[in-house]
Amino acid sequence: MTSAFSKAAQERIPGIIARYAEKRGALLPLLWLAQEEQGYVSEEAMKEIAGWLDLTPPQVYETVTFYTMYNRRPIGKYHIQVCRSLMCALVGTDNLLGWIHAKLGIKTGQTTPDGLFTLSQVECLGSCGTGPMMQINDDYYERLTQDKTNRVLDDVKREGKCPLATGPFMFPEPAQK
């Protein structure tokens, strides 16, 4: 049977399990590993993980479905998540959604016809002082303007990433001497 995990990933699994006094503790990390491998958590992966951790597949499934970040089906290559919570909304979530729509033609919940971008609205991402903001896959983009948003989307489409992504976060940035 082929595995949902690559050989390299499989080799990491025992080390991850060893971090926890009870095997089940490794469930979230293994789900992350599965998602890294396949872009989502497939039912095959869930069954394999259940085997590793001496759980039943439903025990894995109930955990997977509780957390919003595990995808249970493949999604667009770039997942745009716009923060809709109050602090961002006060400074222009609506504008940001409008700019994305103008650029990509998609609304919340939709994917571009080429399958590249999926747009979601999510709750607070912990950058409330630097809104409006969005996360694209792993990266944060903050203090967005229309120009900046366009540039990010262009760059990501072309190269998969954009240098405007926030690095180690500090705001306001310290004064330079």
Partner: protein, 437 residues
């Protein structure tokens, strides 16, 4: 306002500071650990933290040293220390900065805490979205192992500690400490009924301390400079030390600012954060994250310490201060927050699970011009049926935006209902929906 010394943000405020181990050590990092390990008995460290007056920065403000002292001394173990880096309270973004810009400060605090309570295995539970934060921490932990600050025989003293990063996966409730423990055990993040408390029955039913990132980051400073020194900062004895306040909303200079507790809202809004955007009048503010009741301009001279904010009818909470200018619709603001709470309710307790959805529906109806006057009484009744009737504090949190806006802005609710539209908005309300993943 007088300038004051930065503690937690000091290193990262130096130009060029990278947060690497080398930079941290050059700034005096890990001196506290060296002072402690094998030289000061663990119990004395707990005493020192008690004496310093340090209280938890995660939201509830529980005295940190007291929490540590609840760990049973005769327990065969294992015991656990967990750093709560779930930071998901809307309005809060300080832990992210503390972790990403100066990870070793928090790690040193964790090692000292682990030593004080006799822990050999410890986890940092970081919210799943902080991918960069998790990477920064992994790198910092590798450096710390390499340098002998973590691992089997730390600094040759025989003390051993393993420290791991554990990523959450998108669930606000996992910031609540017992839900966090469930999540760490690989389960759904449903809060546990207390008692028993984590101090005796925590992770895998073993004695466990859960502390916030900022709480732990304070520990090396207390060790380095003494409990008395720390207890002299801020507004002692109940509110010692500084806090990193997260300023958001309609201020000129949003961001993280570290100030001694006891400054006033006026100072932090008008001096430190530069005042209102466009110099508009202030309408209301949230003093401590989305779970804290709204406060009014009349509260500007309230001090930012645990007791004063509680006395004003709200809470210091997570330190997230959200400022709203005149013209902001309070029904819309409450509705936005209830969307959050409804989305994040874990579903365990009926009053919270069902109540949050009813509250949201009613607020949405009023905001969209379809409300009825009876709705206001229904809101109040529903809130009363949720308060204090849930396993965790989420229930009390989700009603705070409604009860406080109803208290201060009842006329605004009534205007929405009377005029059958939002008096602040010329266009129909945009349909903000959340699909999650």
């Amino acid at each position: 306002m007088a300038t004051h010394e930065l503690l937690l943000l000091k290193n990262m405020s130096q130009p060029g500071y990278s947060g690497s181990l080398a930079d941290y050590e050059r700034a005096g990092g890990y001196q506290a650990l060296k002072k402690v390990l094998g030289k000061i008995p663990p119990g004395d460290i707990t005493e020192m933290v008690k004496k310093s007056g340090l209280r938890g920065r995660g939201g509830a403000g529980f005295p940190t040293g007291v929490k540590w002292s609840f760990i049973p001394k005769d327990h065969p173990g294992p015991r656990y220390l967990i750093c709560n880096a779930d930071e998901s309270e809307p309005g809060t973004f300080k832990d992210r900065q503390l972790m990403e810009r100066d990870p070793h400060q928090m790690i040193e605090g964790m090692i000292i805490a682990a030593y004080a309570i006799g822990v050999r295995t410890s986890y940092i539970y970081i919210r799943g979205e902080f991918v960069l934060g998790a990477r920064v921490l992994e790198r910092a932990l590798a450096e710390a192992y390499q340098a002998g600050y973590l691992g089997k025989d730390i600094l040759g003293t025989g003390f051993a500690l393993d420290l791991y990063v554990h990523r959450g996966a998108g669930a606000y409730i996992c910031g609540e400490e017992t839900a966090l423990l469930e999540s760490l055990e690989g389960k759904r993040g449903l809060p546990r009924i207390k008692p028993p408390f984590p101090a005796t029955h925590g992770l895998f039913q073993k004695p466990t301390v859960v502390n916030n990132v900022e709480t732990l980051a304070n520990v090396p400073h207390i060790v380095n400079r003494g409990a008395e020194w720390f207890a002299s900062i801020g507004n002692p004895p109940k509110s010692s030390g500084t806090r990193v306040f997260c300023m958001s909303g309609h201020v000129k200079r949003p961001g993280n600012y570290e100030v001694p507790m006891g400054v006033t809202f006026r100072e932090i809004i008008y001096d430190i954060a530069g005042g209102m955007r466009g110099d508009k009048p202030l309408k209301a503010f949230i003093p401590g994250g989305a779970s804290a009741a709204f406060l009014m301009p009349e509260h500007l001279d309230v001090k930012l310490d645990f007791e004063s904010v509680a006395q004003a009818g709200s809470m210091l909470g997570s330190g997230g201060i959200t400022v709203m200018e005149e013209g902001t619709c309070m029904v819309w603001a409450a509705e936005n927050l209830l969307h959050f709470f409804n989305h994040e309710s874990c579903g365990k307790c009926t009053p919270c699970r069902e109540g949050s959805s009813w509250l949201l529906q009613i607020l949405r109806r009023i905001d969209h011009g379809k409300g009825k006057m009876e709705d206001l009484a229904t809101l109040t009744r529903l809130c009363g049926n949720i308060a204090g009737r849930t396993v965790c504090a989420f229930g009390d949190a989700e009603i705070a935006p409604i009860t406080s806006t109803l208290q201060y802005f009842r006329d605004e609710y009534e205007a929405h209902i009377r005029e059958q539209r939002c008096p602040f908005r010329s266009q129909p309300a945009p349909e903000l929906i959340s699909v999650g993943r």
